[in-house]
Point group: C2
Chain length 191, copies 2
């Protein structure tokens, strides 16, 4: 491992946001999930909570698959599990839902501990899950098609979260606790 | 055609932005191009300029393909053609490129006539094309992976363009010229 590589790993770990995460509820296409994970890595999200679709994931082996190495993924059978657990840990749960009456996505304060809930390609976020969330948000659209691709919608929201956190200085010093930081450093630096 | 459908078509045409467009330079995966077109529809972009990859597009038949109905696509063999033509029409050409030294994407004024140039999955924006552009921009990333998926990067930038244009009132009244408006209305309302 070169010194450049080690310093790159440190710089990435220094900017990881332990209090920002994504829950995917039955997002089914492997390539959409991989694109979401790639975006999570890019904005500093260390772990993702993924509810396994009833019919299983469609497989995918593209470039984005390599992002799985840098973001930890936890699997669940329903969205209620991660929503309940994260709510107990003090997170606001923000559901992205195709609903013009929902809040505009830029109105949310993403500098708070936040879990962003994204819905399935076909069904969207389930009703039982929506009943448990803190906020429901939407991205305004002015076209004929009624929704964004799920990985596109997720990125739109996460870039806003990144902007707010940048402005508030949340990328300016290590925020992972020491044990977590060291464990990740060990894993990434000694493959 | 129901009255609701007709009034939806009018509302979409009323918000089309004739002076905002995207050029894709050899974006090869059909699903990426389709996701880009779906996002264009969503932010009100009426046409896209697509440079055909040397090895052809990989085919794609997903949901997003239906967006092709609402956005016109022009094909070219090199990026120089649409860049030159749009420059002559007074557009600024903004290349999205994976380069930390490029301007932050939020620094650009997207309320001016703007063509956003997106690069190929593997090669990015070509050097000859980069020499012809007005600005080169990047989306800051803090992760291990070096780039975003091209449709994700495109959406990140277009949502910022939409935000700026909303703020400036560019979605508040019809901006297509009458002939164009009527031709699209006729086509969409009489399938
Ligand atoms: C393709 S959409 C689901 C469409 C589904 N027919 C519906 O109406 O819920 C997949 C997911 O992407 C997200 N999404 C897509 N477009 C969105 C928008 N405009 N606002 C908020 N979330 C959106 C949501 O999380 C949604 O569940
Ligand atoms: C997968 S990237 C290309 C990666 C290629 N290896 C390179 O370095 O150019 C495909 C396209 O997405 C856009 N893109 C991806 N990430 C970007 C970023 N962080 N900033 C600006 N554009 C980006 C650019 O248009 C790029 O050409």
């Amino acid at each position: 491992m070169t010194p450049e590589r080690l310093s790159r790993i440190r710089s990435v770990l220094d900017q990881r946001q332990p209090d920002l995460t994504v829950i995917t509820e039955e997002v089914q296409k492997g390539r959409n999930l991989s694109a979401i994970i790639r975006t999570c890595d890019a904005v500093g999200i260390p772990e993702v909570h993924s509810v396994v679709p009833r019919e299983g994931f469609t497989s995918y082996n593209g470039t984005a698959a390599s992002a799985h190495k840098w973001v930890d993924i936890h699997h669940y059978s329903t969205a209620l599990e991660p929503i309940t657990a994260l709510t107990q840990q003090g997170y606001q749960i923000v559901a992205a839902h195709v609903d013009r009456n929902a809040k505009d996505f830029r109105e949310i304060d993403y500098t708070k501990p936040t879990a962003l809930l994204m819905g399935a390609e076909i069904w969207g976020v389930s009703e039982p899950a929506r009943e448990l969330v803190t906020h429901t948000i939407h991205l305004p659209m002015v076209g004929m098609i009624e929704s964004y691709n799920v990985s596109v919608a997720c990125a739109g929201i996460l870039l806003e979260a990144q902007r707010q956190r940048q402005e508030k200085g949340l990328y300016s010093g290590p925020r992972l606790n020491k044990d977590r930081y060291d464990a990740l450093f060990f894993r990434w630096a000694h493959p």
